[in-house]
Amino acid sequence: MSISVRVDKRTYSSWFLSVFLPIISVLLALIGGSIFLAFLKVSPLQAYRGMFQTAFGDWYGISETIVKAIPLTLSGIAVTLAFKATVWNIGAAGQIFLGALATTAAVRYFYVDNHWMMFFIMFLLAGIAGGSWAAIAGYLKARWNVNETITTLMLNYIAIHLVDYFIYGPWKDPDSLGFPMTAPFPEAARIPLLVGTRIHYGLFIAIFFAIFFWFIFRYTRWGYEIQVIGESPKAAQYAGIYYLRYIVLIMFISGAIAGIAGMCEVSGLQGRLQHGFTAEFGFTAIIVAWLARLNPISVMLVSFLIGALQVGGESLQIVMRLPIASTLVLQGLILFFVLGGEFFRNYRIRFIRGDER
């Protein structure tokens, strides 16, 4: 009598499991993290309490979490769009840089002393810049099947160096004593903030895009067609005519949104383009998009949670004196556990007696 294990894909997903399992996964992750923290001679309860408190306990923490969540949401949506069409845009970081660059160019060359005009100009230029950057990879893929994973990845690096070229060279602030930063943006070129916080109006852009694209994918023909392309690119490719246009268009929109994320960061948060501007959230966005199962509304929520993880994680450093690397380990652990949990959600284990096959 032998017992073998059989793994089946679930044909329907139980509502119960849908809700219950992820919570268990996260809890297990926290437990796993506790073991890790204990290993570092830190009380896990104290650490987690500190993290919660920092991220959710007061208005400052929540506002900072939102500040972190805005660019994550925007780039998460950008990445989601591309992934829906099975175009692997891992170049969000580069598109963010291009958006920041274009925003700086807008301030330098197209300055208008009016808040809303300036906002519109920066928005437009950042979108076009980020979109074009992504569209390069899109076009190469659609026309000659050049693998977009590489092109977008390489374009990231090229974008970083492009930014360096400008801030060390032609766009360097003459008043900054020669340090690699542009002149500070004038008032009209700054995105307004919610009073008392660092939350900028990029929040509304993010929320708008989340709802907008959720609507597109759920209720419009165009959204449906994108998902079809995503599900069977070969079939779509044989159709020929539309594939090229769609891929380039999708990449353009995806890059445009990422570019706008860059605009928000540089204009809303920092107020000038300086060396040290990171687009690291372009990579985190990929994780966000996956965790959100490519649903734009979920992207918002997941971004908020990940933002909280980052803000709370900082407290581990400051209050608990843990090295910053410990937050990375925690993040990795959480992801592994959630991945593991997904297994139980998607598949069903059956124990079979005998040699039934």
Binding site: R6, V7, D8, K9, L40, L140, W144, N145, V146, N147, T149, I150, T151, L153, M154, L155, Y157, I158, H161, L162, D164, Y165, Y168, G169, F283, I286, I287, W290, L291, P323, I324, A325, S326, T327, L328, V329, L330, Q331, G332, L333, L335, F336, L339, G340, E342, F343, N346, Y347
Partner: protein, 309 residues
């Protein structure tokens, strides 16, 4: 002329860690598993290699330890990808984050220390061949091992039974399964061995190239390797060319500065990436429209025996 030789020698030297990572990833991807965690695995390999070399006094012990630990760590990704059928992209990214964090944490005790490491061992006879000699045969033993690995892998993938089985599993798991191959076992083996080799790439950095440990010392090489695998169209020899191209352009840019140029450095720094894209476009146009030639068809997709197509 001397300048060219020294640039090419530097290309080989600095391309070697990328080469190891690329070769390891080729093995993994040939079995159908996508692994984006190269940065994390390389860092763990670098730390393991360095720490074991420091403590034991023997760099080869360090390299072997790096191989083992790299294999073990990558097996986590393998478990998630193969048995749990999880999303391989995210699992790989999680591996990068996790590996970076763990290596940074555990490495704190080793910052600031140095080891004698692997010394340069000129290859007798061969290193006196004009031009080619100083470029390829004036390095340490691990570099020579990488040459061997390239040749071995090329032969292995094409001419051996196991190699063909590996490619079958990656290209068409259903057919391979029908042939009686154990998909999971082959994939696990590929992941373990490939992961070990990736870790050797990291160990090379800390034991032979820089002989020290510092946080994030891989400086993005893992990501370059991910791109190079595709660039090389999963072919070990082309992988070597790609890796050396990368190392070479950086060495070239630095020497250009040293001899005096007014080209702004950031533009020079873009060169390796631009070149990679251009070569890729060139290859792709050449191959014409169609499916990417040489990619394991099942790359990134979990395998289900019972699933009906």
């Amino acid at each position: 002329m001397e300048m060219v030789v020294s640039i090419l020698a530097a290309a080989v030297r600095s391309g070697t860690p990328i080469l190891f990572a690329t070769l390891g990833e080729i093995i993994i991807e040939k079995s159908g598993i996508l692994n984006l965690g190269l940065e994390g695995i390389m860092l763990i390999g670098a730390l393991t290699g360095f720490s074991v070399s420091l403590v034991s006094g023997n760099p080869w012990l360090g390299i072997m330890a790096a191989f083992i630990l790299g294999a073990l760590i990558t097996l986590i990704h393998g478990f998630i990808s193969i048995t749990l059928r999880g999303n391989q992209v995210v699992s790989g990214l999680a591996m990068t984050i996790f590996g970076t964090g763990v290596s940074s944490l555990m490495g704190k005790a080793f910052i600031g220390k140095t080891i004698p490491g692997l010394l340069k061992t000129p290859f007798p006879v061969l290193n006196r061949i004009p031009f080619v000699g100083p470029i390829f045969f004036n390095h340490d033993l691990l570099v020579y091992f990488s040459f061997f690995l390239v040749i071995f892998l090329s032969w292995f993938l094409i001419s051996t039974r196991i190699g063909l089985n590996l490619r079958a599993v990656g290209d068409s798991p259903r057919a391979a399964d029908a042939m009686g191959l154990n998909i999971n076992r082959i994939r696990y083996l590929a992941v373990a061995i490939g992961g070990g080799i990736v870790a050797i790439g990291g160990a090379y950095l800390s034991v032979a190239y820089n002989k020290m440990w510092t946080e994030s010392m891989t400086a993005g090489r893992g990501w370059i390797a991910v791109a190079l695998v595709i660039f090389a169209i999963w072919n070990p020899t082309r992988a070597a060319l790609g890796a050396y191209l990368f190392g070479g352009v950086e060495a070239f840019q630095l020497r250009l500065q040293a001899t005096g140029t007014s080209i702004p450095t950031p533009l020079l720094l873009m060169l390796p990436y631009l070149l990679t894209v251009c070569v890729l476009i060139f290859i792709s146009i050449g191959k014409g429209k169609g499916i990417l030639f040489g990619a394991p068809a099942s790359l990134g997709q979990p395998y289900f025996r019972e699933e009906s197509e």
